[in-house]
């Protein structure tokens, strides 16, 4: 018989309401035998007592319900964001507060490059610098001979230098495209807005592959960030899952030392609904414990800060025209119907409230055709949903994954510019979701914001924006609810709540190992609780040793 290890801890938050606290947890074959006192657990027979966590706090391994493994790949580029951010190696990069500082860091990175390798930066967010524009002349100061590309934090804008424009054939007057602003000289300023114009130039500055799909190194690096943030189960929310990507993900996650369970969702584009569902059924059969294939991601609209989300009347606060659909209602309806029929789960990106309304309108008749009592179709982001929409979600058996981090990073922008004070105040309505009984979790959408469920919980608890204002006190939730959301809540949206999300008999031995008890620190300090590392499937991963 395989050995039993009993871990002692300062305290264990189990998320099992029948036994919310314990001092010990017993693990066998990568699973939890039970949580309780040493005496209780000794009843399972011979054991080894492991006291390495005696002064740590254990909680269920955190579950991130909306992230992208491409965060791992991005760290090969130079980080230029406003906020301090930790890389996979554990180094925290200082946030950059001026354009000069951005250029200085680019210069340092440039000095380490050889040949004509392009220089890539990411995470720039001029919103925090009074919306100062970065143009090609700025980047030309870093290098006039090497192509340079800098991706904004939003992912919607790419800044490039003159060399990059030349390589892309765009360094000419008279370019006529809404995504390419021109300077007073009639030449492009180097700012490229939107995927239509970023895609053609991207390859010349080193963004030469879809940022949606992970590569092998990125997948490994992403897992390091998981260990550092206490995450043991993480979604890769939209991948095209080409055969070679699937093979690579199964191989890498299957390695003995891979520390996270990855849940990759198949992006809906590329196949008609019937073939899409058949393909995902096929993928589902390939799933392993650490690579849970077999779900679909649909994108209904764009983003609110990019003015491409679909809003109900009265639309954008600044009068911008309504956003774009990325799926036709008929296509969404057909995917829903076929997926329900095949027992395949669908997660749908809806940012604006009209997109949320569409998903509700399309799911209701699909459920009449294929009554499926436990579909758990989940709305992702769902940032603008109102109370009536949450009531419909509840009635239809849907789950929601709200973008709590977004409220911190862009809440001020939404208040001031995109949706105005009233709707900004109720955005990402965690309390309403809970009050209406909608199964709820909260997310980072890494790399859009940093992976870190304790930070995400902090954002939902405090609803503070980057400028320091509390925006929407009414929608704040308690620490216990927030911790539930990033464990059991997220597990539920993935049909994994019977396996992970709490520390109780029979579940996977997945723990977040913390230096402090998140339920006893000040709510404002929740984000600062240090993470020692994780235990995943009974395997111990110290952040300091990966």
């Amino acid at each position: 018989m395989a050995g039993t290890t009993i871990y002692s801890a300062k305290t264990i938050l189990t998320m099992n309401p029948a036994r919310p606290r314990a001092t010990h947890v017993a693990v066998r074959e990568g699973r939890i035998l039970g949580a309780g006192t040493l005496e209780e657990l000794a009843g399972w027979g011979d054991y080894t007592l492991d006291e390495r966590f005696a002064d740590k706090v254990l909680m269920p391994g955190l579950v991130e319900g909306h992230a992208h493994t491409s965060e791992g790949s991005l760290w090969r580029y130079t980080y230029l964001g406003w906020f301090d951010r930790m890389d996979p190696a554990g180094k925290t990069w200082d946030g950059l507060k001026t354009i000069d500082a951005v250029l200085e860091r680019l210069r340092e990175a440039e000095g380490q490059l050889s040949g004509d390798t392009p220089l890539c930066g990411w995470g720039l967010d001029p919103i925090y610098m009074d919306n100062q524009r970065v143009n090609r002349q700025h980047l030309d100061q870093v290098s006039a001979t090497r192509p340079i590309g800098v991706m904004h934090a939003s992912g919607h804008i790419l800044n490039v230098n003159t060399k990059a424009l030349e390589l892309a054939g765009l360094m000419k007057p008279g370019v006529n495209h809404p995504g390419i602003p021109l300077g007073p000289d009639g030449y492009p300023t180097g700012e490229l807005k939107g995927p239509d114009v970023m895609t053609p130039v991207g390859p010349h500055v080193g963004f030469d592959r879809s940022l949606m799909d992970c590569d092998e190194m990125g997948l490994r690096d992403f897992a390091k960030l998981c260990v550092r943030t206490g995450v043991t189960t993480v979604t890769d929310l939209a991948s095209r899952l080409e055969p070679e990507t699937v093979e690579m993900m199964l191989r890498v996650t299957g390695e003995e030392t891979y520390p996270a369970r990855v849940v990759p969702l198949r992006f809906f584009l590329g196949l008609p609904p019937k073939e899409l569902v058949a393909e995902v059924v096929r993928l589902k059969a390939l799933a392993t414990d650490r690579c849970r294939l077999g779900r679909i991601k649909v994108v209904a609209d764009g983003s609110i800060q990019g003015f491409s989300a679909r809003l109900k009347w009265p639309g954008y606060y600044n009068g911008a025209p309504n956003g774009l659909w990325y799926v036709a209602p008929e296509q969404m309806a057909e995917i829903y119907e076929r997926a329900l029929e095949a027992g395949v789960q669908v997660h749908t990106h809806t940012n604006g409230d009209q997109a949320t309304e569409l998903a509700l309108d399309m799911l209701a008749p699909a459920l009449m055709k294929h009554p499926s009592r436990d579909h758990r179709f989940t709305l992702q982001h769902c940032q603008l949903a109102d109370a009536a929409q949450f009531r419909r979600m509840k009635a239809l058996g849907m789950c929601v994954n709200l973008f709590a981090n977004h409220h911190y990073y862009w809440g001020d922008e939404h208040y001031r510019l995109t949706v105005g004070p009233e709707r900004a105040t109720r955005m990402n309505a965690c309390r309403t979701a809970l009050e209406q009984g909608v199964p709820m979790t909260i997310h980072s959408d890494a790399p859009v914001t940093p992976l870190g469920p304790l930070f995400t919980a902090w954002a939902a608890v405090n609803r503070i924006t980057a400028s320091g204002r509390v925006q929407g006190e009414h929608e704040r939730i308690g620490v216990d609810d927030a911790l539930w959301a990033v464990t059991m809540g997220a597990a539920y949206t993935l049909h994994l709540d019977g396996e992970v999300g709490s520390i109780e008999t029979g579940k996977r031995a997945d723990f977040a190992v913390l230096e402090q008890d998140p339920t006893t620190v000040e709510p404002m300090a929740l984000k600062d609780v240090p993470v020692w590392g994780t235990v995943q499937g009974g395997r111990v991963f110290a952040a300091s040793a990966i």
């Binding site: 054939g169 765009l170 000419k172 370019v175 006529n176 495209h177 809404p178 995504g179 390419i180 995927p195 239509d196 114009v197 895609t199 053609p200 879809s210 584009l269 590329g270 196949l271 008609p272 679909r310 025209p321 309504n322 774009l324 659909w325 990325y326 799926v327 036709a328 209602p329 008929e330 296509q331 009209q354 569409l358």
Partner: protein, 301 residues
């Protein structure tokens, strides 16, 4: 190498984009068409037209091809340029919710591409309802507003008098020529313009069995302002949907091309054959006025 002409074919689901594309492939008149489709949707090519299916490229009868452009239209267009033999014309079939004008703006970023026109299909039986649909109404309005040519398909299903509906569509698409039809049966020259030999094509124009269109050849020997003439033909009350041809200007030969309300003139080789072919709907093409326009042009030029 000359620029690759690109036509974007847009319109909401069910408007008949796929029917039109297959119709064009069957009546390409010797032109090698490359059809670029967005990833979403079933294969848009009739089975009997397919000669071979590769990983990324489908070979179609008559030297035509079809491939999907996924999220990188630019790369797909570059690939089309490098095909040997190179396609004569590229059709981009956009997805139902895409804004065809935006797709053309992106295609136009390539120096090697010539924007031939934005063609938007509308379902005559459904367009009024769809236009008021709270979800997709404004998308359809944007599609129409950016069209050069609107093909008002399925006229047999129109719930109101054809003239009323056509006038209403024309009001929603002020920059476009509106072409009513059934089963997407529109001559290729109307959708993708006249090929490399417009005058010869005109000679065969009576081959079109539908008989809904007619064409004339204008021969203004010269013009002071070819661009101005192109604009007049496109925007004046002449009923011209498409025009193409050459004439002399003080700067040399000029190529005039008209798609709906868009008319352009570009420098052309001195050997170009003089003559300008104009196509329009029978009964709407104002032949007398066009000849008068040409005569005025000759007199002033």
């Amino acid at each position: 190498m000359s620029a690759l002409p690109v036509t974007v074919i847009g319109g909401y689901l069910g408007a008949g984009k796929t029917t039109l594309v297959n119709h064009l492939l069957r009546h390409a008149g010797g032109r090698r068409l490359a059809v670029l489709v967005n990833e979403f949707g079933t294969l848009p090519i009739d089975a009997d037209l397919i000669e071979a299916e590769g990983d990324t490229l489908i070979s179609i009868a008559g030297g035509c091809v079809c491939c999907s452009f996924g999220n990188d239209l630019t790369a797909a267009l570059m690939q089309m340029r490098q095909l040997d033999p190179r396609p004569d014309h590229v059709l981009i079939e956009s997805s139902g919710v895409a804004i065809p004008g935006s797709i053309m703006a992106t295609a136009a970023l390539l120096a090697e591409v010539r924007c031939d026109g934005v063609v938007v299909l509308a379902d005559a039986g459904d367009i009024r309802r769809a236009f008021d649909d709270p979800y997709i109404g404004d998308t359809i309005a944007r599609q129409l507003a950016q069209a050069d040519i609107v093909i008002l398909n399925k006229m047999d299903l129109a719930p109101e008098p054809p003239e009323t509906l056509t006038a209403w569509v024309a009001a929603q698409a002020p920059g476009a020529a509106v072409v009513p039809c059934r089963d997407a049966q529109v001559p290729a020259e109307v959708v993708i313009g006249l090929g490399p030999h417009p005058v010869e094509a005109h000679a065969h124009a009576h081959d079109h069995a539908d008989g809904l269109f007619e064409s004339i050849v204008l021969t203004p020997a010269a013009s002071e302002d070819a661009a101005g003439l192109a604009r007049q033909i496109a925007t004046g009350p002449y009923g011209v949907v498409r025009a193409k041809g050459w004439l002399r200007t003080p700067e040399g030969m000029a190529l005039i091309q008209v798609a709906g309300r868009q008319g352009t003139a570009t420098p052309a080789s001195p050997e170009s054959r003089e003559g300008l072919v104009c196509i329009g709907l029978k009964g709407q093409l104002d032949i007398a006025a066009l000849h008068a326009l040409a005569a005025r042009e000759t007199a002033s030029g």
